[in-house]
């Protein structure tokens, strides 16, 4: 028997998933005997999925004991409506401050789940709904698995900085072989936590049968009866001498390297080690190794930062920090986009797809306006061809988009966003001219990345309806939206902007109108240190690779290639002008823009990436090179400095908002917690400003 685990003080009270046992007569299904069915149910609806904390595990343990005491022909586990189990109760993990506790939780899971495999009767998981992580692992310990046709399943642990450590990393490779196990445990998890659809789970062999949800339980019980009677047989393969182990593990390793810009992170590395060991170890040995791995990871700062980041993203998706009451938001039934270039067209597409209201675009002449509209319609058609939208829906949306050279079409708009050339005077002029066309309540939004929104509203009759509405490229993909308030922007305007952002399914932060808002201000400062180092004489390769081991998704120059030197330089110039000389203007960058050199790296025909000789030739090379360590230190120090200044200035109110921005706007990784937990972790925050951004224990192990 297992021992109870007491969670440390401060941990949220566990929402206990209770396991209940009922006996089912198998006679109507053609088998003489009973099946003891264990239902997992935390007593809430599907919005609060079953999770597995210590008390939940104890309940399952007791249920297995009870089920066995009924002397059934088989035991099965199923979930509550729509949910099997969404995995371990992660809320408690962040509060563990003793490795022994972490080890005990891992072991507790194993000790209980393995009873399902070691029972003297066949065991089944009837996975009726969502089964993630520990939820799927319950199923993997069972001898057989059925899955509802509409349920999703997967092992997201590596995505979160953990490993499938309740048996998944050991059992799955043995069950479905190394290639498919690497697919599920590594590739899917690293690919933005892709879950398996039922047909994929069946195809990979993760489950043995898929049944439609309408009579899933009945069909699953019939399946169990057929297994018991021998009418149905499931062949299991021994993969221990499969030739694909090495190549599969190499694929997994390559995926992790790609995801984290070449860094070797503990979670993916450990997961691969556990998978590799499954080739020849016993289940028990694998479980022991998983226990140790889980304990090590749980007691590591990267995991705590990752959990912090995950929770932050989940929470802020729903609730925007500092947002005015949503009932202040005005209805948006017609939207204007000023400009019909690529950015404006992308905005028009995003707006029409999500708001499903008329979207009007203008440009300097009808031809350009038509081009923008045509682009939107062509994109809608592509979605139809990819079967991601019905022809009907596309036709509805296409009919909502129109363009003109005449700004009077903005009459009646409730929300107009401009995406014209980044020049303040142009934008000021535009907003004034729009005021003459639209109602005083119409929100005028700007997608500027670094200009002052406040200045744009100078001289306007109703400056309170002007707001920054800053997307990240590509606008349809990047989840962040920075909403910038000027000193005039009123609550109704902000609430309306937030409502529009919600409809666009964006994660938002509301910041003060300050140069570069949050993401560009930090990224530009960060990049400036790298270009400075190069300008001073540091080998670009040394500068660019200085932070590889940290695990950013791309190096500074890879990012520069994506943004384009022109945009980067423009932002740097604006910030230099507004924030001071710590934002330097790199002569190398100026040269690149002048000469039209767009990247530091070029891709060869064979796909290999090498330094771009055209870029190297333009480097303004000084005589004071830095070491990689020095480059890394100064770049990260710059981040710490700038973040502290932003908090002091009140650009945003909380460090969490800065982290959210870097996670969602820059794609910075969860194991850094965005960025500030990492700066705390390496001691730079305190070095720079004498204080941490987050208290110890938030996004870190309390030591």
């Amino acid at each position: 028997m297992t021992t109870a685990i007491t969670l440390p003080e401060g941990a949220p009270e566990e929402v206990v998933t209770v396991a209940k046992v009922r006996d089912i007569d198998l006679a109507p299904f053609g088998y003489k005997g009973t099946l003891a069915l264990i239902t997992l149910d935390n007593g809430h609806d599907h919005n609060r999925p079953n999770t597995l904390g210590p008390q939940s595990l104890a309940s399952l343990d007791a249920a297995i004991t009870e089920a066995l005491s009924h002397n059934p022909s088989a035991i099965a586990v199923t979930g509550k409506p729509f949910i099997f189990a969404a995995g371990a109760d992660l809320s408690a993990l962040s509060f563990l401050n003793d490795r022994a506790q972490a080890l005990a939780i891992g072991k507790l899971g194993h000790d209980i789940f393995r009873r399902l495999d070691e029972s003297n009767v066949p065991t089944f998981a009837f996975i009726n709904g969502l089964a993630l992580g520990g939820g799927l692992e319950i199923g993997l310990h069972c001898n057989y698995r059925t899955l509802s046709a509409t349920a999703f399943t997967g092992l997201p642990e590596v995505f979160l900085g953990l490993v499938p450590g309740w048996g998944g990393a050991t059992i799955l490779p043995k069950l479905i072989g190394p290639e498919k196990a690497v697919q599920v445990i590594m590739l899917n998890a690293l690919n933005n936590n892709t879950m398996l659809k039922a047909k994929d789970a069946l195809g990979l062999g993760v489950v043995d049968a898929v049944f439609e949800p309408a009579d899933f339980l009945e069909k699953s019980v019939a399946f169990a009866a057929a297994i018991l009677s021998g009418a149905t047989k499931i062949e299991r393969k021994d993969y221990s001498s499969d030739p694909a182990w090495d190549s599969a593990l190499a694929t997994g390793k390559a995926a992790a390297h790609k995801k984290f810009g070449g860094a070797d992170l503990a979670a993916p590395r450990t997961a691969l080690e556990l998978i590799a060991a499954a080739k020849s170890n016993t289940r028990g040995a694998g479980f022991d190794a998983e226990d140790q791995a889980l304990a090590d990871l749980t007691m590591s700062d990267p995991l705590r930062a990752s959990l912090y980041a995950f929770n932050l993203i989940q929470k802020k998706k729903k609730k925007v920090e500092g947002a005015p009451k949503s009932n202040l938001a005005r209805k948006v039934n017609k939207v204007g986009v000023v400009g019909a270039g690529l950015m404006a067209s992308q905005l028009a597409l995003l707006l029409v797809r999500n708001l499903k209201c008329p979207v009007v675009m203008t440009d300097i002449d009808q031809e350009r306006a038509d081009k923008g509209v045509a682009w939107v319609k062509a994109e809608l058609q592509k979605l139809v061809e990819k079967k991601r939208m019905s022809a009907e829906a596309a036709s509805r949306l296409a009919g909502l988009v129109s363009g003109s050279a005449d700004k009077s079409i903005y009459a009646g708009c409730d929300f107009v966003i401009e995406a014209i050339f980044e020049e303040l005077s142009l934008k000021q002029e535009l907003f004034k001219s729009l005021e003459a066309i639209v109602s005083p309540e119409c929100v005028l939004a700007t997608n500027t990345s670094s200009l002052s929104v406040e200045k744009m509203s100078i001289g306007m009759k109703n400056p309170e309806r002007v707001v920054g509405f800053h997307f990240f490229n590509p606008v349809a993909v990047m989840p962040l939206l920075e909403i910038a308030r000027t000193s005039h922007t009123d609550d109704a305007t902000t609430a309306t902007a937030v409502e529009v952002g919600k409809n666009l399914k964006k994660t938002m932060i509301i910041c003060k109108d300050a140069p570069g808002f949050v993401v560009n201000r930090l990224l530009t400062r960060f990049m400036g240190e790298i270009t400075d180092a190069v300008d001073e004489g540091t080998d670009p390769a040394v500068a660019d690779n200085a932070m590889r081991s940290i695990g950013f998704p791309m190096s500074p120059f890879e990012l520069l290639g994506l943004v384009g030197p022109g945009v980067a330089l423009h932002v740097a110039e604006t910030l230099h002008e507004n924030l001071g000389p710590r934002y330097r203007i790199s002569p190398t960058m100026q040269a690149m823009v002048k000469e039209g050199v767009k990247t530091f790296y070029v891709k060869g025909d064979d796909g290999t990436v090498s330094a771009n000789p055209a870029a190297l030739a333009l480097i303004h090379k000084g005589s004071t090179p830095s070491t990689a360590e020095e480059v890394s230190e100064r770049a990260l120090r710059a981040l710490a400095e700038e973040a502290r200044m932003m908090l002091d200035e009140g650009v945003v109110k909380t460090p969490a908002e800065i982290d959210l921005c870097m996670l969602m706007g820059a794609g910075w990784p969860m194991h850094l917690g965005g960025i500030l937990p990492y700066l705390d972790r390496i001691g730079l925050s305190e070095k720079v400003s004498g204080q941490r951004f987050h208290a110890p224990g938030i996004a870190s192990v309390l030591k």
Partner: protein
């Protein structure tokens, strides 16, 4: 326009959920889910049926709100995965809902408007207690259109005892006991289970299970036990929980087709419809309804009661069955009547019961090819009866 000649309507197959006691097994299960389950069970049993060839789906419920609302015929069909192209409707004649769904679909088949139809019923009396949302017009009582007893089914049963004093409580109890014993025997022999579709049921407190048997039967019933039960409908009454059907949750479904279509598709034929009739009586003695409806149906069919070799009569109340038997001079324990027991034992989820009678009759036909004709009949609240006369396709020409 060419004249369409009437076509023979056949019962291809029929199934039902086990009947639960209201507030028990199916307490956490929706009525439409019960309906969906039997539809899927029926389709699975009849793989020769191309589902897109179903011409209509007719589903009855006595209370058509909530999980029995939203046009349950259409809704259950969609939820069961029947293609969008197959239409559906809801229908209501209180207890005779499924019986009326059957006769309505049959009418369409007979005149050639339909080839294949589904007819069934559902009642979740736990979710929809009798009388739910009922709003009787005050004129009923003000103008004495009905007596106060008419809206309480138990009271109408007492009124039958009043009207026919020879139908004693003792006879009603004995009939009820026999129903229990016949059902127990049928269960022992596996004769009920073969047409039950095991149905998942969830209880928030207990978790999931599969219900695969009726919950109502009390095989240990005794005359002494029955004698001691309370008479809830009036002091010193005769109607008890023991000699009445219970409050139940359940769903039934039948597959009907033209004989021609059934043969073309290779579907089974379990019974052929001869004719049907509905008739009205005073609402206060609604239990008497099957008498005039049967007389009417026999007359239409040109048959005599002596031609009928098998009776499936719904046991809403024992006294109402006895009134029918007494009228036609059939013994209380005649073996032709409800050989597998009836609603007193297995339960009566109002609108679903009509098809349950057909399930049993089809089994009787199958078991005894010497029987040529059988009837399914039931009483209906507010004073009606419905009767369907069926012919045994297995009839070999022996006795009637």
């Amino acid at each position: 326009m060419s004249q369409i000649s009437p076509r023979t309507v056949v019962l291809v197959d029929a199934v039902r959920t086990p009947f639960g006691k209201a507030g028990s097994s199916f307490n956490g299960t929706r009525a439409d889910d019960l309906m969906v389950r039997v539809i899927r069970g029926l389709l699975e049993r009849n793989p020769n049926l191309p589902i897109n060839q179903i011409d209509d789906v007719s589903i009855a419920a006595a209370t058509q709100t909530g999980d029995q609302g939203m046009n349950i015929g259409r809704s259950a069909a969609l939820l069961a995965g029947i293609p969008n192209s197959v239409p559906g409707y809801s229908i209501d004649r209180w207890c005779a809902g499924a019986l009326t769904a059957t006769t309505t679909i049959a009418g369409g088949i007979a005149m050639g408007a339909l080839d294949i139809g589904l007819a069934g019923g559902v009642e979740h009396m736990g979710n929809h207690p009798m009388g739910e949302l009922m709003d009787p017009n005050p004129r009923y009582l003000a103008e004495r259109i009905v007596d106060t007893d008419a809206l309480s089914m138990g009271a109408t049963a007492e009124r039958l005892h009043d009207r026919f004093p020879t139908l004693t409580k003792e006879r009603a109890d004995r009939f009820a006991l026999n129903s229990q014993l016949k059902t127990a025997k049928a269960y022992e022999e596996g004769k009920i289970q073969r047409d039950l579709i095991p149905t998942a049921a969830r209880s928030a407190e207990l978790g999931w299970t599969i219900v695969s048997a009726d919950e109502g039967p009390r095989p240990t019933t005794t005359m002494e036990g029955l004698a001691g039960l309370k008479t809830p409908f009036r002091a010193a009454g005769r109607v008890t929980a023991g000699n009445s059907s219970g409050l139940n949750d359940g769903a039934t479904i039948a597959l009907l087709a033209s004989e021609e279509k059934a043969n073309e598709l290779g579907l089974t034929i379990k019974a052929k419809m001869v004719t049907f009739a509905f008739a009205g009586v005073e609402p206060e003695v609604m239990g008497y309804g099957p008498v005039p409806s049967t007389i009417k149906a026999l007359s239409k069919a040109g048959l005599d009661i002596r031609d009928i070799g098998a009776f499936e009569i719904n046991e809403a109340f024992a006294v109402q069955v006895l009134a029918f038997l007494e009228h036609f001079g059939i013994a209380d324990d005649d073996p032709r009547v409800n050989p597998y027991g009836g609603a007193i034992a297995v339960g009566h989820p109002l609108a679903s019961s009509g098809v349950r009678l057909m399930i049993n009759l089809a089994r009787t036909f199958e078991a005894d090819p010497s029987i040529r004709y059988g009837i399914t009949t039931m009483c209906i609240g507010l004073g009606m009866g419905g009767t369907v006369i069926w012919e045994n396709p297995h009839f070999t020409g022996g006795k009637k």
